[in-house]
């Protein structure tokens, strides 16, 4: 296919960013917003066109006779050439997952653009300060995210990886006069930066051995069987497999360098996808405007980590260890986040932790994916869950945004019983909850079920663990739902008029996303996405046993939530008092932030930086100054020589002359 459309997909948001960034101040708020939205709309259309073209055109470039979907590089422009082999190029990479991501990103992004037209103004319709800047940043983010998913090589991915980090920094810190927002943005950037350090080193290791950044060379799909599951196209001088199995690749601390590379790269993913222990930035990131949270911190950027692992999945397959690590990290994170989500007051925090937990689901399912189980069901499942989760989590966030916009507070304590006042929000939010809880027939059910069965294939332990997490998910979501919409009558503070549904710009996205969440489950996802491109009908692997069990768990959890939170009662209190420690730990997110504070401030800042600075000023600089001081001292010392007494002068003269002679004599004889 021609490169025009892909180029436009990337170019339009970039242009919008520059244009709105430079000229935004000159134009009216509304105009800027509409321009941004229109731009995103165009991108949406183009992206859909591209994706459908890829999936359905049947173009031999995209799908082989065997019917397996192929990787296709639309264009690839050399950007920076290190050596004749090691090249960073910017390109456009089409394969099932990137096409899928195109759809997801553009959809959510467009929804958010639209939504923000309503959200970013107060009740009197006055636009917020920096409205144009907001849209500029949104465009920047969309550009970076799109660039990330269509990366043709791992370094391009890294480049846009950094860019999304930066734009998320800018958007979290959008309310830059609020100190909390500023520090949150700083935290987000630095934590992810730290993770990216691992990513970078991983890339360096990988590229040193393979001599290439290209995904096509690194991960070309296998033709048949396990024998050559991993083979680099022969254009690469030394095939990756060969390299890593050759003795040239040493073991390092008991693991092969490939494992190290993969783990380090996964570290980058952990940072972006807020896996433990690098998750601490995501809850704080909720300081940003809610649409931003919906776009960046629920739907798109945070799944970049999952996307990265999926992208390099064939490499990960080579190293069992790395996949195990992925699984373990994912499983722990999922449980941890779910626990914490049960004890949060701030509704956005609850959603944030549920996001972490859900992404952990995807990670786990990647970790447990093996070609031998249902052609790598887990891979497909995680992509599927990524897709559905993006939709319903965005829905939930936007709903929360609507609530916050109406109430003016993030805490459910200020809400309670809003169902009568805000029906649209109520229903859409409910749909979102059902979807995430995994109730048939909503989208979440299918994707989560796939994941669970993949876990089941892998090991029963993981299966039980993850089902438990699934139950927790259902519980905390409905806890949230009830506490917002039921619990007790909403009391309107005097002077305020009753909360109501927001403008159509805000409601429309909710409705659309709700619809998608309802139907998305029935997409035969396996037809499009599979770990090796061979389409298959996943209903064939649909395990009704697993499905019913997970459904049962979810329902039970929901019932529990209903009992506890539908009507105002003392059960939660009792619960809390029964296990105060548990509540505290969950409420304080297991004190991770405090730990980090301690490490960064006490140890690094006060323990390293300050002493170093002192050392520099006093020791190093002191030495330099001491030279000067010593010189002065010396001149002070020899001052008496110049006593002004002639006879003294002559003494020194004669002694000098005699010494001169005498010493030489001694040396000679």
């Amino acid at each position: 296919m021609s490169a025009t459309i892909p180029v436009l997909i990337l170019a339009i948001p970039l242009f919008m960013f520059i244009f709105l960034g430079l000229a935004g101040k000159k134009m009216s708020h509304l105009l800027a917003g509409i321009l941004g939205t229109l731009g995103m709309g165009t991108v949406l259309v183009l992206a859909y066109y591209t994706a459908f073209h890829y999936f359905f055109s049947g173009d031999p470039a995209f799908i082989s006779e065997a019917g397996e979907r192929l990787q296709y590089i639309v264009f690839n422009q050399t950007w920076l050439q290190f050596t004749d082999r090691l090249v960073i190029s910017l390109g456009f990479f089409l394969d099932p997952i990137s096409a899928m991501m195109l759809v997801v990103i553009t959809t959510i992004s467009f929804m958010v653009h639209l939504y923000s037209l309503g959200y970013m103004r107060d009740h009197h319709g006055v636009f917020e300060k920096g409205f144009q800047r907001f849209y500029a940043f949104l465009s920047l983010f969309s550009f970076s995210m799109l660039g990330l998913v269509v990366a043709t090589n791992i370094f391009q991915m890294y480049i846009f990886w950094e860019l999304v980090g930066a734009s998320s920094y800018l958007l979290i810190g959008f309310y830059y006069t609020k100190n909390s927002a500023v520090s949150a943005s700083k935290k987000a950037f630095i934590v992810t930066r730290f993770a990216d350090l691992g990513f970078l080193i991983g890339i360096l290791v990988l590229s040193f051995y393979t001599g290439t950044f290209d995904f096509t060379s690194l991960t070309s799909v296998p033709v048949e069987g396990m024998a050559n599951v991993y083979h680099v196209d022969l254009s690469t001088p030394n095939a990756v497999l060969g390299v890593f199995q050759s003795s040239a690749a040493p073991m390092f601390m008991g693991a092969s360098v490939l494992t190290w590379a993969l783990v380090l790269i996964f570290m980058g993913g952990m940072g972006k996808s807020a896996m433990m222990p690098l998750h601490i930035w995501l809850p704080d990131a909720m300081e940003g405007p809610t649409p931003v949270s919906a776009l960046i911190h629920a739907a798109t950027m945070v799944v970049a980590g999952v996307y990265l692992v999926a992208r390099l999945f064939p490499l990960y397959l080579m190293e069992e260890t790395s996949l195990v690590i992925v699984t373990v990290v994912g499983a722990i994170t999922a449980f941890y986040a779910a626990m914490v989500a049960c004890a949060q007051i701030d509704i956005k925090r609850v959603l944030a932790f549920s996001t972490i937990s859900q992404i952990a689901f995807m990670m786990v399912s990647l970790g447990v994916a093996r070609p031998e189980f249902h052609e790598g069901l887990g891979y497909m499942a995680s992509m599927f869950h990524l897709f559905t989760h993006a939709m319903f989590k965005a829905l939930l966030f936007l709903g929360a945004g609507a609530l916050i916009h109406a109430i003016g507070s993030n805490d459910y304590t200020a809400m309670h019983g809003l169902r009568k006042y805000m029906p649209v929000t109520h229903w859409t939010f409910l749909i979102g909850c059902l979807a995430i809880a995994g109730i048939i027939p909503f989208s979440g059910f299918f994707s989560k079920d796939e994941i669970l069965s993949a876990c089941g294939n892998y090991s029963p332990l993981v299966y039980v663990w993850m089902s438990m997490v699934a139950g927790l998910t259902a519980f905390y979501m409905f806890r949230l739902y009830y506490l917002i919409f039921w619990w007790k009558e909403h009391k309107i503070p005097e002077g305020h008029h009753a909360p109501h549904d927001q403008a159509w710009t805000m409601s429309l996205p909710l409705i659309i996303l709700a619809l998608i969440s309802c139907v998305a489950g029935f997409i035969p996802f396996g037809k499009f996405v599979s770990w090796n491109g061979e389409p298959y009908d996943f209903m064939a692997h649909f395990d009704w046993g697993v499905a019913s069990i997970s459904l049962l768990v979810a329902v039970l959890a929901i019932i529990l939530a209903t009992v506890m939170y539908r009507k105002e009662n003392s059960l939660p209190e009792k619960f809390k008092n029964a296990l105060p420690a548990l509540w505290d730990w969950c409420h304080h997110r297991f004190y991770w932030d405090e730990l980090y504070m301690f490490i960064t401030h006490k140890i690094i800042f006060n323990g390293i930086c300050r002493p170093l600075a002192w050392f520099d000023r006093h020791i190093i600089d002191g030495t330099m100054d001491s030279f000067a001081i010593l010189t002065n001292k010396a001149s002070e010392l020899i001052r008496p020589l110049q006593s002004g007494q002639v006879q003294m002068y002559v003494w020194i003269y004669i002694i000098g002359a005699l010494l001169l002679g005498g010493v030489t004599v001694l040396c000679l004889i």
Partner: protein, 509 residues
């Protein structure tokens, strides 16, 4: 003599000096400064194009526009000029920064004297970059050093006497070692019987410096230039110096002068004494590796904007020397790009700091806050500069650092696999860590200075950038973005032309 284009890099500043001496009022002075620096930019661009043209024609000489006029015949001292991609890059950088600098000092006190010294300084800089004769190189080097004393002393702020004296003396101390090293090189520049020479190319061709002498002269030269490159134990002049220097001088000094160090280390020390470079590089690797993280850590706790940037300069320039010492093509390319990028962005930083200081009369970040609401233009520029310096893709810093890391990691792994110890590898990893620390201190400053509520209500009355300030900063930002977006152009410019040098350096390992 005047048929050679390069000589005009010295002629133009000299003419400017003459005109400045004649100037009567500030308007004329500004006119001379602007026209002259524009002329320099034009000249360097012209040379760049010419150069690319000749290279495209398949010319493989190590240097182009080579020309040499005998000066002190008995010592075989020539006024020898010639450029390759690196020098051209440096020339571009210098001319741009001179341009920006003259706008940044638009309303300086005693403009006549100020610009006289400034232009004299840039004469030295340009002369240094075009000359390939060790003597003339050294002469121009020192010409560039001395005006700093008066520029800081007279127009500086704070503890200026101390800083100016310290800076001058430390740099002169460096050049003392340097002079010894250069004369030593001269006396061993040719095999027995052949005429001795100061000419770099001939020295490299002769490759006559015996092994023992190399291991004595290499440290001399490297330290000599390293002092100006703010190498670890010898960097302390830079924080004080920058802190007290006036804006344009900080720009020129951090932007260009510190590059003289890196350039010299590469062009003289490593270029002429590769063997010693190979054997002794480990010492300096440790030192420079330290200065990379050390500078960054120190920057984390400073509260004076200029100190913060001075230390970050220590860190970044340390990275330059670090990469040069990797003795591998990619890393060296990265080093040169880092010189470019650091030159531009640090100049931008100092320009902005100067402009903010000129308004608030304080550089303490604890005394300021919420500038974004008051000085939006300057603040946005500051954010951009910060992003460039913490290596955001699309801006120059990222390209340079990545090139360096890829190259030095390659060198490190090569050593490691060859069983030559893992020093390079370890220090590469350590250097990589600096990108995180950089992020920390940059964001700390940005958060404290620009964001948050307004700290001091008196600041609310401040006015945003004037047109000349906008021009000065915009120029630099555009250049930073250019390098960041089209790195391969510069990469090829440096890399391709610098193969001969690389071969001669790596020829012996």
């Amino acid at each position: 003599m005047f048929t050679n284009i390069l000589i005009y890099f010295v002629v133009i500043p000299l003419v400017m000096l003459g005109l400045l001496a004649l100037c009567r009022d500030v308007k004329q002075i500004r006119a001379v400064a602007v026209v002259g620096s524009l002329g320099l930019i034009g000249l360097s661009v012209y040379v760049l194009l010419e150069y690319l043209g000749i290279r495209a024609a398949g010319n493989e000489d190590p240097m182009l526009f080579v020309d040499s006029w005998s000066w002190f015949a008995p010592l075989n001292i020539h006024l020898a000029v010639g450029v390759d991609g690196i020098s051209i890059a440096m020339l571009l950088l210098s001319s741009i920064i001179v341009f920006a600098g003259s706008f940044a000092s638009w309303t300086i006190a005693q403009p006549k004297e100020f610009f006289l010294w400034l232009i004299l300084l840039s004469t030295g800089v340009f002369g240094f970059f075009i000359s390939i004769d060790l003597f003339t190189m050294f002469m121009f080097y020192e010409v560039a050093l001395i005006p700093m004393y008066l520029l800081i002393g007279v127009w500086g702020s704070g503890n200026k006497n101390y800083s100016a004296m310290k800076l001058t003396l430390m740099l002169m101390g460096g050049s003392a070692f340097l002079m010894l090293g250069l004369i030593g090189i001269y006396y061993h520049s040719a095999p027995e019987g052949a005429p001795l020479t100061w000419n770099l190319l001939e020295i490299v061709d002769n490759a006559a410096i015996s092994h023992g002498w190399q291991s004595f002269l290499f440290p001399m030269t490297f330290v000599g230039f390293g002092v100006l490159g703010a190498m670890f134990p010898f960097h302390t002049w830079s924080p004080d110096g920058h802190a007290s220097a006036p804006t344009a001088v900080s720009m020129l000094h951090a932007g260009v002068l510190m590059k003289l160090g890196g350039y010299g280390c590469f062009r003289v020390a490593i270029y002429t004494m590769p063997q010693a470079a190979h054997e002794l590089s480990w010492i300096f690797l440790i030192l420079t590796g330290i200065s990379v993280v050390y500078g960054a850590f120190c920057a984390c706790v400073k509260t004076d904007l200029k100190y913060i940037n001075a230390y970050s300069s220590v860190s970044h320039c340390g990275l330059v020397l670090f990469a040069i010492l990797m003795l591998n093509e990619t890393a060296m390319t990265g080093a040169i790009m880092q010189m470019l990028s650091h030159g531009l962005m640090t100049a931008l930083f100092f320009a902005l700091i100067g402009m903010i200081y000129g308004r608030t009369h304080t550089r303490e970040i604890t005394q300021m806050g919420g500038m974004m609401q008051i000085l939006p233009y300057l603040s946005v520029c500051y954010v951009i500069a910060g992003m460039a310096s913490l290596g955001l893709p699309g801006l120059s810093g990222f390209v340079a650092e990545m090139t360096i890391f890829v190259g030095s990691f390659k060198a490190g792994m090569a050593d490691y696999l060859a069983g030559d110890g893992s020093l390079r590898l370890v220090f590469t990893i350590i250097a990589c860590c600096s990108i995180v620390i950089t992020a920390v201190y940059i964001l700390r400053v940005v958060g404290k200075l620009l964001f948050g509520p307004v700290y001091d209500n008196h600041h609310r009355s401040l006015t945003d950038a004037t047109w000349w300030e906008r021009l000065s900063t915009a120029t630099l930002i555009v250049c930073v973005a250019c390098i960041g977006c089209f790195p391969n152009f510069f990469n090829n410019l440096i890399n391709f032309t610098f193969k001969p040098a690389i071969f001669s350096v790596l020829g012996i390992n």
